[in-house]
């Protein structure tokens, strides 16, 4: 009979757009499995769900998955999105580059280990010889609070998750540097998917076909969203876009983050990992500092 794939998702997460498209268009059945969604209100809950065996797949960033794998968990990673953040400033801010943020206050949503923040630190160091962490003041906070305090001008610049960034840009904030610009300047492969679906190897061993069929379904959904405007209309209610500007910004940024088909560039990933280790330290990458083998699922 058809295997059931239970996905633990953040109810507000963008991954719902893709999974909903899969269900709506029957891409799961077409690929021989049934997809069910378990929505949670917090990312941590999705981790607990998969770890505890209450769900089979979740979305996580690959660095985290790498560290967990290095620590002995049998997680594997299937690319979902390359979307990265950027740092934004108010429209009328005098800042033109990271160097101008010296002595300013930056609001950061993901905490001190946020990937975007680490890449920007590396970039500032390389471009301007500047220690961004030391020469600015950081305010960490929940994404909505960072969103609000940036709009209110309480902070001089902000780094937020990408769907909040889309709204901030729609509200008139200006992108100072995009993280993809920064990573290119650092010689990183911009196609490395930062977010991905995470399965347990033990689960995949019991359901050998699931990985491939899930990947196919995901690709079908992405293709449809990339080619068919009307597919988006179905998603609009769940996108929480108040204006057309916001809606289009979200759509654009989403499509920009669709990874290329095909296997992940593992050397590029290793370089990336090394860089993160330099800036994020052991906390972020675990005590090995080496990308654990077998992390990226082989589907083609």
């Amino acid at each position: 009979e058809e295997p059931v794939v239970r996905a633990a998702v953040l109810k507000t997460g963008t991954v719902n757009w893709e999974l909903d498209t899969i269900q709506r268009n029957g891409f799961d059945k077409a690929n021989g499995f049934t997809l069910t969604l378990q929505p949670y209100a917090d990312n941590g809950a999705t981790r607990v769900a998969v770890e505890g065996g209450e769900a089979d797949v979740m979305v996580a960033d690959w660095l985290w998955v790498a560290v967990q794998r290095a620590a002995g968990k049998d997680y594997v990673f299937l690319p979902y999105s390359t979307a990265v953040g950027s740092i934004v400033v108010p429209q009328d801010s005098p800042a033109q580059s990271l160097a101008d943020l010296k002595g300013k206050k930056i609001g950061i949503a993901g905490g001190p280990l946020d990937k975007s923040w680490l890449i920007l630190r590396a970039y500032a160091n390389k471009e301007y010889g500047m220690d961004l962490a030391a020469e600015t003041e950081q305010v960490y906070g929940a994404p909505p609070l960072i969103f609000k305090s940036a709009l209110d001008g309480e902070t001089d610049a902000a780094i937020n998750f990408w769907h909040f960034l889309a709204k901030m840009k729609a509200a008139g904030m200006r992108e100072l540097v995009s993280v993809s610009t920064a990573s290119e300047a650092l010689g990183l492969d911009p196609d490395i998917p930062l977010l991905g679906y995470v399965f347990k190897e033990s689960y995949l061993a019991e359901h050998p076909d699931v990985l491939k069929s899930f990947y196919q379904a995901s690709r079908s959904a992405k293709d449809l969203l990339g080619s068919d405007e009307s597919a988006w209309d179905a998603l609009r209610p769940m996108m929480n876009a108040k204006t057309d500007v916001e809606f289009n910004q979200l759509k654009k940024d989403y499509l920009a983050g669709v990874p290329k088909p095909g296997p992940v560039n593992e050397d590029g990933a290793a370089t990336f990992f090394k860089l993160m280790a330099d800036y994020g330290g052991e906390k972020l990458v675990g005590d090995t500092g080496i990308l654990p083998p077998g992390l990226f699922a082989k589907v083609e």
Binding site: K11, T12, Y40, A41, D42, A45, V48, G52, A55, P144
Partner: protein
Amino acid sequence: MQNPSARFLSLLCLAGLWIAASALRGDPSVLPSPLALAEPFWRELTDGPLLFHLGMTTWRVVLSFALAMAIGTALGLMMGTRPGLDKWLDPWLVVFLNLPALVLIVLCYLWIGLNETAAIAAVVLNKIPNVATLVREGARTLSPDLKAMATVYRMRRIPYLRHVVLPQMGPVLTGAARSGIAVIWKIVLVVEFLGRSNGIGFQIHLYFQLFDVPMVLVYAFSFIALMLLIEALFLQPSERRVTAWRRA
């Protein structure tokens, strides 16, 4: 309240203050006026899932409350009346009292599984030490004279607990119950957003992530309204009955 209208007027004042504040602030996305909440509230109530989520949360609150109060009271009574036991259990109480809700909840979910049992267990474990602490203090002040009286007249255990101990613990218990239900509901919120797919906590966190302050308030206040009702219809009348002797 002998006078329900005072209750009502007082709530109106609060709403008035709120309206004034929101007019002063002038940013409905951050401080919407209560009037602006009426429409989304009505929509969620009639068309939306509010009742379903409220039901789930209430059920969790009621169950955990009953369990936590029962176990916590028993534990507190024992610890308050038996110094020998207290000496041994007290450090445990301190540990569990100060274990962060987040930690306890995550551990419960990890150990028991991401299910209803774990959710309830997490809330109950969170709350028991709290109740036990309060009840223990109350039990320490039980009148030795009444105890002597009950001993002499060979009162049995159940009538003794019911008519001698319980009334003395009354204020502590109502205090513990009232603040307890509030704390429990707050923990249930956390439990829900950390690992349940329904309930007010789930919805509040959801709308918080969407930065929809009005909806956050709609859900928060739906439970508060329920509590105001329960206060007015059950807690206060029963408290009034139980403490009648004080005012007589």
